[in-house]
Symmetry: C2
Amino acid sequence: MSTRLDQATVDLLGVLAYGELTAFERLASDARLAPSISDKHALASMAAAEYDHYRRLYDHMLAESIDPEQAMAPFVGPLDAFHDSTPPNDWLEGIIKAYVGDGLATDFYREVAAFVTDAATRGLILETLADTGQASFAVAKVREATKADPAVAGRLALWARRLVGEALIQAQRVAVERDALTELLVGGSGDLAGIARLLTRLTDSHTERMASLGLQA
Amino acid sequence: MSTRLDQATVDLLGVLAYGELTAFERLASDARLAPSISDKHALASMAAAEYDHYRRLYDHMLAESIDPEQAMAPFVGPLDAFHDSTPPNDWLEGIIKAYVGDGLATDFYREVAAFVTDAATRGLILETLADTGQASFAVAKVREATKADPAVAGRLALWARRLVGEALIQAQRVAVERDALTELLVGGSGDLAGIARLLTRLTDSHTERMASLGLQA
């Protein structure tokens, strides 16, 4: 198959699609930890929304003559490694992972997507990065738990720091291996000062998300 | 909330909805065991179809003034017990569970659904019992595996027998606890001879499914 889209865009579609597919699996698995039917329902609904995003990216790749499996393949290692190294120990850790982890990833992908030249692809990517309901659900559940037992807050803050650390390790691995994608980001940002500003924006949003949960970043 | 539907129908909607919700979770979790991206894709798609069935049953209950959580609650214990007692050890066992386990459950529910008096509910239930693609996928994958290593067939046949055994234990538990549902089935079947014929039909279909996989029932 030959596609009119450049390698960086193909890479971005691939990493996003595999990211949504694994997010779907993990959210649906974490639904098993849910303490009530309504919590299970909420998590299953978010997982189904992730599948829907995955499906739209997958279908877009087919329509653009991209082999979705080939596009996803380079990202299986890093994404599986991230998830394998961060299995949630309980329901709250699963929620933090869905909100804080996906939030950071989403912010990052949105920054990269801005540099995609194909308008249809850029539009679709931005749509699939929309919040699937994690935010308000996570905030409510975590605040409920820390109100009932303030000691929980310290443990969850540590957990969030670990998630960010593991995510950075894998992101670095991708950056080293996928030249076109890295070039898109570096070229789009302009220079090192541009990259620094991007990292500041990501850090600020992460700190805000943690604050909304009532946790220290 | 007060509904125009009788208790047996409410029970049937509840057990079906919770059954689809747990099937969704398990299929999505099993997708993690998939040996390739395309297998993962196939399992995730089936899981998403189960979620869609769950959602339609859930919405139907709301429209019929039934509290879905209350309707599902009596079946959480038996269905969770079934899944907890039958965690697949590998990818093939997961596929057998999805095909043979869901197949038996589906046949059974279809028999019960025939006795539901409300036509709209009966129609919806029969639609949600449609195959979500497990059949042809499972047959292809299991035949592939037993061709590569004939010894696998014996282990998988034993696994399927265990699934049926655990399912019967939980079904019996439900029958004892949910009078209205049991009454619907017994009353609908007419008499003990009717029940015996129903069991024969279920057994025959199960044997056919096993044969299509190339396994002994």
